[in-house]
Symmetry: C2
Subunit: 197 residues, 2 copies
């Protein structure tokens, strides 16, 4: 299992840095000091290998950093702000991930591999559904304004998050995070439940 | 000049579809039915060629669709909403451009070619500066709340726009545009100048 973990982690790094289509299995074997036989014992193809990385590493990463922290929590808006802020701070210290692995791969596979695209989009869908659920629960619990369109808010949140991660590529990520979180709070002022005056 | 236009337009398409690093000059010459001699008469290298595309096509495209429509206008918030809505509608009908050419290239060149990255980021900077200028003018003219942090708003706007273009890749772009614009209007409610009660 430790080997499998290593094979996938290294694969993610190489695919992310060089791009999926620029990377050959040989590139990865070299990086891993692994024989072709050992690799093909686990995976039938580069595509199958990549999909296993998406399902294990990519999904788990998005789940643990962006979904789990708000799942089932009271006060979803404050939880979302805290969760996005944490995730952006982690990204700040991880140069590789400035651009957000998930959206980078979506960009790379667009129009090129519908199968892999489906796996990538499934992650976005799980994220979206969980945001919608959290917002709906927030309405019931009295934290979110009842007139808010939860699906539209979820889309807007995911958009802005993907975008800020792309912008962080250009450096000064600390300042970008600060500006982003400040405006996210502003935006949430209109969405939160107001006490009757 | 018509030839130059064609050489650049085709180059942009091929680089965007296949990725810069996956594309050779030969691929482009084949697409253009152009001789190596004719190509190298205009450009010394693939990099120089790409930079000319960035400066001419990419910059002009961002300028005409996202900067010019709000430049010097009264009522910047409504102008920004209309401009973003128009640009997203255009993108809807242009499959190639769902993912936003500029941010796709920023993703691709991240950590790989600092020179080209600078050219790409310059476009983002011009966009940002113009948004900040429009918002500041909006304060003076009484359309934008005086306490708003124009730079943070500009960053937030650019982030969400880049993100929604990436999401549009997954299809149902009409619905995504609708949700995005709806939430953009919500957000602007907190930024607009309020009459004293």
């Amino acid at each position: 299992m430790a080997t499998m973990q290593r094979i996938q982690t290294t694969g993610l790094e190489v695919f992310y840095q060089k791009g999926y289509f620029n990377t050959s299995i040989d590139d990865i074997l070299k990086e891993l000091s692994l024989s072709k036989g050992a690799f093909y014992y686990h995976f039938q193809s580069k595509e199958e290998y990549f999909i296993s990385i998406v399902q294990n590493l990519l999904f788990r990463k998005v789940y643990s950093s962006l979904i789990e922290p708000i799942e089932g929590q009271e006060d979803p808006l404050n939880k979302i702000v805290a969760c996005f802020d944490d995730a952006l701070e982690t990204a700040e210290h991880n140069f590789l991930d400035y651009g957000f692995v998930l959206s980078n791969f979506i960009t790379e596979f667009n129009g090129k591999n519908p199968d892999i695209m489906n796996y990538l989009q499934d992650i976005l869908k799980v994220w979206e559904v969980n945001l919608v659920t959290a917002l709906q629960k927030g309405k019931t619990d009295g934290y979110v304004d009842r007139h808010v369109d939860s699906e539209a808010v979820a889309t807007y949140l995911i958009s802005s998050y993907i975008g800020i991660r792309t912008l962080m590529v250009e450096g000064n990520s600390k300042m970008l995070r600060y500006k982003y979180i400040q405006q996210l709070r502003q935006y949430f002022k209109l969405i939160e439940h107001k006490e009757p005056a």
